[in-house]
Amino acid sequence: MKNSFLKNLWAFITSLKLTIIILLILSVTSIIGTIIPQNELPYVYLKYYKPSTYKLFQLLSFDNMYHSWWFTTLLALFTLNLICCSFRRFPNFWRLITQKERDLDDKLLQSLPLKKTFRLKELSDHTRSELSRIVQKHVHKPTILHTSSDALSLFAGKGKYTRLGFFITHLGIALIIIGGIIGNYGYQGFTNVVEGETSDTITLRGTTRQKKLDFSIRCDDFEVSFYQGGQRPKDYKSNLTIIDGGKEVKKKLIEVNDPLYYKGVYIYQSSYGTVPDQGNVILSAAPKADAKKARKYKVEVGKSITLEDKRYEVKVMRFVPDFSMGKNNKVVNRSQEMRNPAVQIALFKDNILVYKKWIFSKFPDFHGSEKGDYRFSFLDFSGKEYTGLQLTKDPGVWVVWSGCFLLTLGCYLLFFMSHQRLWIIVENKKGEYIVNMAGTSNKNMLSFTEVFDQIHQELKKIGKSIP
């Protein structure tokens, strides 16, 4: 009783019915996560769904379904099914591959789909070698199963290992899943490094937790280039130096699609930005009386500079890369990108504040009513940029890639290769040599039939050319 229960369970776990059921369930449930946004903060869901619906989502982990207990269980069941099923069938396949082919007896002949019978005049050495040559040309070098002075039987087979295609395919899929599980022992995080500075901690993805690395990263230089006349970034690059144990151990210019690899960790170029309120501003101050006498000044943010005539002093109060007006006319910085760079300057005359105002590099003519004897424009900013780096450590990734390789190889073997077998038996019956040829292919019979017929045509001609 107990035994038969286990037997039934094993039969169920290794059944193809289960495979088809799981594949269908996986397909249907995967849709949920493509419709409901994943891993968002509660307010995002509450924007679209009722609180009660959201509760239900949380209960069923629909907001993080691909890592939920039930989806993981499905995947585990799938893997179990895949592995058990493949191993249960493996011995059969192995026997098929390693067994010696038997002689073509009547029973075997009955079971083979392709058969032909014809006569030959003689079984001379010439006939024998021609037989071998033709079979070798179309299939493979034949093995002699039996030979005597007036009988011959031989076998030729090709591609028997392609029968393992299904096993290789499944092994590949299992490896991909296993690699994915191993990957959970890695981490993914982000860090922003200002040009010239060094960082050795990252913020882990999706959390606020910090992680200290066992090496540090210095950003020597950061650069972004744009497409002509636009704001679309074309490329961004960082010159990074890895410092480990106080020594510079590696340098690389990374860009999007070209990460740096060190100690099992990939460092990716992921974003960039400008640090507000740091760096140097280039201003021009033109005397209103004579605009041609404009002069350029380089001022550090937070510092001031005295103009040529010694009475005026300009202080750069603030700098923002992406100026915008928020509520109550408060200045806000919309992003870290140089979309609308602006500086706030304060002008002093004889140490008395004349005004404080914002000037914009993209809108140089935006002056308003200006007091004082000078007109200022904001020419350039050599700001401190930071590079946004993503760090990933995934110890399973090579397992995944080997799985992918096996999967592709296995499918190729399955769909485009076949195991072809051909038997030829020559017997002397009443002074005539009767040739029986028979063959089969586990797949793609259409093309093997053509090969079979071709061999038949050529064999029939043996001995005909010699009178």
């Binding site: 088809i20 594949l23 996986l26 636009g230 490329d235 993503q390």
Partner: protein, 279 residues
Amino acid sequence: MNSSFFLGITTFMYLFTMALYFYYLFFRNKILGIFIKITTIIGLLAHTTGLAMRWIESYQLGYGHIPLSNMYEALVSLSWCTVLVLIVMERKYKSDILGVFVFPIISIAMAYASLSPSVRDEIEPLIPALQSNWLTYHVITCFLGYAAFAISFGASLAYLIKNRKAKASSEESSGLLPDLNLLDEVIYKANAVGFLLLGIGIITGAVWANYAWGSYWSWDPKETWSLITWFIYATFLHARLTRGWRGNKTAILSIIGFCGVLFTFLGVNYVLSGLHSYA
């Protein structure tokens, strides 16, 4: 003469070929068969020229990328792959009527690409993450896979129609469409090829994502839908190869699979959103 000119000609040739196919379905005629081949080839030549010129034009604009970067280019390139795979399949199976269900799809795709106001046809620069050779491998393998699935979809429709007709009026009307066994073989082979290509497409996509974003799989809707589609075809293969399903049942499975393809290609962009928001 620019790329739009050639792609316009292409659309016209394909619509014309589609009409010829319909006619050919009812009035078999050797010369017409050859004529269809010729219009198909002319269409494909114009198509190839159009795509090549668009590629060159993108260099002249200073962007320099293979035409695979927005919905317009995707539709045009996908149609190109489909015509190519169709020609190969028709040769391999010595059938000259497979295209009758495929050309409507190709013509609709081309016409939709050039006429729909929601498909912008400007050449646009690529964001840095998309500037990768892996993008090219990824998209081309996926598209060739989709093309094979489109052929199998056409053959499946033909199978179902013919099977019903054959049942209704035994022998006689069966002459119009290809033989059921041949259709069944085409459905299987096209799905097997598509399955392998889509598999490679998903893998190259994963390699590229790993280079660009530092993770090979992130369950974004497009990825997930391509996996769902791949699972449907895996079900098809198992059902056919190990459980011996044939005919109607597998034809229906392969039509469901093609719905998956359509949703992966279009539905995700229009209905859902995610990383792959190139449309």
